[in-house]
C-alpha cells in the first residue's frame, strides 16, 4: 500500500489539490482526506469501457485502437460540417490538439460552457469581470453571496476551502467573522446555512440585481415595495450588508445562466458588483462546473481568439454563439457528424438536439459508458485524467494546476487519441492532394 499526498481532484471546478489517497495493486483503495463525496466517488473509480468498439448493424463490435482511430478520421474527413464537442473533462494538452483537428477539418468546435457558463462568458466579453483568485476570497472576503447556486451539493468543498467556512490571513475566525447570503427560488442545504436567505421568484434575477444597483447608487426611492418576490426592506438590508463589508464576494451558478435573460442576468450581476465598488471592495466569480471547462476556454481563446462555439469552416475562426454552439448546430440539423470527447451530451443536451444526434455518425472518446454511448457509432476509451494521466487544468478562478497521475495504465490519453485522429486526417488530406 502506498500513500499519495497532494492528489488533485479532476471532478469539479474547485480542483482541490490537497487530497490524500491510498493505492494498492495499482488501484485507489481509499480516499483518506481532502475530497468531498463527489470527488471521492471519482477517485475511487467506476466501471470503464474496456475496448474500442465500432457499431455494425446496430451491434457494437470490439476493434483495435488503430482501427477505431482510422475509421473516426475517415468519418470526420468526409463530413461537410463535423462538430467537435466536449473538452471540459480533459486536460489542456488534449484541448490544444483538438483545436488543431478542428482547424484541419474546418469543423465547429464547442465545449460544455455553452450549456453551463456560456452566458457568463458573453457577459464578461460585454462588460468585463471584476474578479480575483479563490485565495483572495479565502483571505479577504467577509460577505459571501451565493446567487442561483447550491454549492453544498454541486461544489461541496467550496465553502470549506475558499469561502464562508475557510480561515485565511484576514479571516482567521472563519465563519464567525463572515456573513453568508444565499439567493435562490427554493430552500436547499446551502440556504439553510445562510445568515440571510433571499427567496427570489424564479427567473427574476435581473430586476433584483437592478434594484440592488439602484440602492447602492443612492436611488432607493425608485425601488418599489417588492421586486421579484423580495421585499424592499430585505433589499435595503442586503445593500447595508454590502456597504458595511470589507470585501464582498459574489459567486453565481446556473440559476442565473440557465434562465430568463441569461447573459443579461450576468451583465447585471457584474454591474451590481461595480455598484458595490462605490462603498467597498467587491468581486464576482462564476462557479464553474467541470474541472477544466475554464481550461478549454483558455486554450480556445489563446489559439483562436474566442472561448467557445467556434466555426472553422471559413478557414479562420468564426464566433457566433446561437449559430455555431453545439445544441443549436444539432437542433438546426446543421452538422453531419459529431466527435464527443470528455462530456456527455446524451445526458445534458435537450431532447430537441438529441433527435439529430441520433441521425448522424457519432464518435465518442470517454473512459466511461454513458447516455451518449447509446448514440455512438465509434467508441474509444481513454485514460482518466487525474488518475491514470497527468496534465494541466484551470481552476474556476483561472489558476492553472497540474493534475497528477496516481496509477499506471496503458490506456491511451485523450491527447494521444485526438492526436492519432489528427495524424490520420492529415494523411487523408495528403492522399487527396496527390
Amino acid at each position: 500500500m502506498v500513500e499519495i499526498t497532494d492528489v488533485v481532484c479532476s471532478l469539479c471546478g474547485c480542483v482541490c489539490d490537497d487530497i490524500v489517497v491510498e493505492v494498492e495493486n495499482n488501484e485507489v483503495v481509499k480516499v483518506k482526506r481532502g475530497a468531498c463525496s463527489v470527488g471521492k466517488a471519482k477517485l475511487m473509480g467506476h466501471e470503464r469501457i474496456k475496448s474500442p468498439m465500432i457499431r455494425e448493424n446496430g451491434k457494437l463490435k470490439e476493434v483495435s485502437y488503430d482501427e477505431a482511430i482510422k475509421k473516426s478520421a475517415e468519418i470526420l474527413y468526409n463530413s461537410r460540417r463535423p462538430l467537435l464537442y466536449g473538452w471540459s473533462s480533459t486536460v489542456c494538452e488534449a484541448d490544444k490538439v483538438g483545436v488543431e483537428l478542428a482547424a484541419e477539418l474546418g469543423a465547429v468546435i464547442d465545449n460544455t460552457a455553452s450549456v453551463c457558463h456560456g452566458p457568463s462568458v458573453l457577459a464578461i466579453q460585454d462588460v468585463g469581470l471584476p474578479s480575483c483568485t479563490l485565495g483572495e476570497v479565502k483571505n479577504r472576503a467577509d460577505l459571501i453571496i451565493y446567487w442561483g447556486a447550491n454549492p453544498s451539493q454541486a461544489h461541496a468543498n467550496h465553502m470549506k476551502r475558499y469561502s464562508y467556512v475557510s480561515k485565511g490571513y484576514w479571516t482567521g475566525e472563519g465563519k464567525k467573522g463572515k456573513k453568508l447570503v444565499v439567493v435562490d427560488p427554493r430552500k436547499t442545504m446551502t440556504t439553510k446555512m445562510a445568515d440571510v436567505f433571499v427567496q427570489i421568484k424564479q427567473g427574476y434575477d435581473y430586476p433584483v440585481f437592478s434594484a440592488l444597483r439602484a440602492i447602492l447608487r443612492g436611488y432607493e426611492d425608485v425601488v418599489p415595495d417588492e421586486v421579484g418576490g423580495v421585499p424592499k426592506e430585505t433589499l435595503l438590508e442586503l445593500a447595508k450588508m454590502v456597504k458595511e463589508a470589507k470585501f464582498v464576494m459574489t459567486f453565481f451558478g446556473m440559476g442565473v445562466t440557465h434562465t430568463g435573460a441569461r447573459h443579461n442576468n450576468i451583465v447585471n450581476a457584474i454591474q451590481f458588483t461595480r455598484a458595490a465598488h462605490l462603498h467597498t471592495k467587491a468581486s464576482i466569480m462564476p462557479l464553474r462546473g467541470h474541472y477544466n471547462v475554464a481550461g478549454i476556454n483558455q486554450v480556445l481563446t489563446w489559439e483562436t481568439g474566442f472561448p467557445f462555439a467556434i466555426d472553422m469552416a471559413r478557414g479562420y475562426p468564426w464566433y457566433n454563439p446561437g449559430e455555431d454552439s453545439a445544441t443549436d448546430c444539432l437542433w438546426r440539423e446543421d452538422c453531419d457528424s459529431a466527435m464527443i470527447i470528455a462530456s456527455d451530451p446524451g445526458a445534458h443536451f435537450p431532447g430537441q438536439s438529441l433527435r439529430h444526434m441520433a441521425k448522424i455518425p457519432v464518435i465518442q472518446i470517454d473512459p466511461f459508458a454513458n447516455p451518449t454511448t447509446e448514440f455512438a457509432d465509434i467508441i474509444i476509451p481513454s485514460a482518466v485524467s487525474g488518475i491514470d494521466a497527468e496534465g494541466s487544468v484551470y481552476r474556476m478562478d483561472n489558476i492553472p494546476i497540474r493534475l497528477r497521475k496516481i496509477i499506471d495504465s496503458d490506456v491511451p490519453t485523450d491527447e494521444e487519441i485526438v492526436g492519432g485522429i489528427l495524424t490520420e486526417v492529415r494523411a487523408l488530406q495528403e492522399k487527396e492532394g496527390q
Binding site: Q202, D328, M357, P371, T373, E374, F375
Partner: protein, 127 residues
C-alpha cells in the same frame, strides 16, 4: 385525476455528481429520474413518494418518480439535471447558445406509465 401546473427547474445534486461517471447504474437512475414537489402539490395530485408522475411541457413529456421536497415553493418542480429532465426542457437558445434548462412551464400528473431507463429513453430519440 387532473394534473397541476408547475414551473420546472433543474440542477445538480450530490448523488447525481457522485454518479457522473456511472450514469447507467441503478443509483443514478434512482437519483436523477425523479421529480421533487412540495408536499401540498403531492397531496393535490394524490401521489406518494416514488409514485410515477408524467411531466409535460411544450417540448416533450417524461415519466419520473415523485419525491417530496418542502423547500420548493408550491407550483415549482425540480428534476435533477440529466436525461429525464432534458426530455422536457426548452432547447431554444434565443440565439445565445444556452437552452432554457430552468423556468419552463408545464404540468405534472399522476400516471401508471413506467419510468424509462437510459437506453430506452435514448431510443425515443432514434425514430
Amino acid at each position: 385525476m387532473e394534473g397541476i401546473s408547475v414551473r420546472l427547474i433543474s440542477g445538480r445534486t450530490a448523488v447525481q455528481g457522485q454518479n457522473l461517471d456511472s450514469k447507467l447504474t441503478e443509483k443514478y437512475f434512482i437519483e436523477v429520474a425523479r421529480c421533487d414537489l412540495n408536499g401540498a402539490d403531492m397531496e393535490k395530485l394524490g401521489v406518494a413518494k416514488d409514485d410515477p408522475v408524467k411531466v409535460t411541457t411544450a417540448y416533450g413529456q417524461v415519466v419520473v418518480k415523485v419525491k417530496q421536497d418542502d423547500g420548493l415553493p408550491e407550483g415549482m418542480a425540480f428534476i435533477p439535471m440529466g436525461p429525464w429532465c432534458n426530455a422536457v426542457v426548452n432547447g431554444d437558445t434565443n440565439g445565445n447558445g444556452m437552452p432554457s434548462f430552468k423556468g419552463i412551464d408545464g404540468t405534472v400528473e399522476k400516471t401508471a406509465e413506467p419510468v424509462l431507463p437510459v437506453p430506452e429513453l435514448m431510443q425515443t430519440y432514434m425514430g
